[in-house]
Symmetry: C2
DNA sequence: AGACCGATGTTGACAGTGGACACATTCGGC
DNA sequence: GCCGAATGTGTCCACTGTCAACATCGGTCT
């Protein structure tokens, strides 16, 4: 056989890992299954990843990147301009796409945040569209529009993030799981109303 | 040996499961290890729990209960009375003890929310001090004090919950893990300031 | 060209897990 | 005292992560 060497196994393993994370969640990503789907021996992965965690970390990075991509898409789709209403619309769009991604890709979302790399490591190694950076950018838009005082910026960023993230996790794995989709969405609208209320 | 029958193995298994969850997190709770520590065969647990998930669910219930107990303690310690400042102090105390519990008992907190029972099941089977009910109670105190309009009650509840829960999970397992404790605490104070700001 | 070597992939083994089955032991009610 | 039900044991299987030894390929040096 000509394919003793796979070519770019590493990327291939990450890809199938992502697919497994999408369909089964982080717990469903096993080295053996990933290798199996890549059509390769169960131990081949060790030539490219130190251990299972290393693979999961890469899968998580991809998940984080997809989230970032969805966010830029949503922000750009939100009405352009520099006014206050535009800044607010962008914040709202950011929040909605964040939880939208969590519900559309629960397995990937869980994986992205469950095995994200330890930020205290030497190499932070951020993804290109970095969700956190995008959020900061959005809040800075609010500051620029005069809706938020400079010294409240960091607190606002943290508040927006914790709100949508908590909302997503409580509904995804927590006690709010099982709430029907329409109720969920309505609650999100009112929640975002409150967040907007907070920054006035 | 007189102890072929353990006596109350079920409770004993849950207890050791809780200890394992405390020290190792949900992933460290294995049927075999729990049985081993209880001094019993690895299959004995199946007489009391349908599968591993059933045990984990019970452990999660205990975790949820401990969180609830910590919350009542904190609320009662907060200055008594019925005024507006008391209501605010209680809300703040509730939030602080929520994340305080998460950092003091990370394994238990993770377990409590990772494998909490599906609320859509026929038997919700709430814990006695139910954290959610306590939060609702606290927010109702704000309503009674005239700080929050009646029709914003549910949104406020959700906002408070998502905020502290998101804060806890982002710092526990998410990208904010690794933030030093003092920075973390300072950020929480400012975050709670913003939440208070939101409800005026 | 031909030998060589590092990178890559394979096979085999081991310990640990959750789970299913048949079997053993003990307790409570008659 | 006896019998059935509850409870615990032993054995087995499939699966996983990880390690060690071996096989194969591509490129480099002579």
């Amino acid at each position: 056989m000509s394919t003793y060497h796979h070519g770019n196994l590493r990327a291939s393993l990450i890809d199938t890992g992502v697919e497994l994370a999408r369909s089964e969640g982080p717990g469903g990503v096993s080295l053996r299954e990933v290798a199996r789907r890549a059509g390769v021996s169960h131990n081949a992965a060790y030539r490219h990843f130190a251990d299972k965690d290393a693979l999961l970390t890469e899968v998580a990075r991809v998940g984080m990147q997809r989230l970032g991509e969805a966010m830029v898409e949503a922000v750009e789709a939100a009405r352009p301009g520099a006014g206050a209403t535009t800044a607010l619309a962008r914040l709202r769009a950011t929040g909605k796409v964040y939880v939208g991604f969590a519900f559309a890709e629960p397995g990937l979302f869980r994986t992205a945040f469950a095995s994200c790399p330890d930020p205290t490591d030497t190499s932070p190694a951020l993804t290109d569209p970095d969700p956190f950076a995008l959020l900061v950018e959005t809040v800075d838009g609010l500051v620029a529009a005069g809706l938020v005082e400079e010294d409240r910026r960091d607190a606002m960023v943290l508040m927006c993030w914790t709100t949508v993230h908590g909302y997503a996790t409580l509904h995804l794995d927590g006690p709010l799981r099982g709430v029907p989709g329409d109720e969920r969405d309505a609650a999100l609208e009112r929640l975002l109303d409150e967040v907007e209320h907070a920054l006035t």
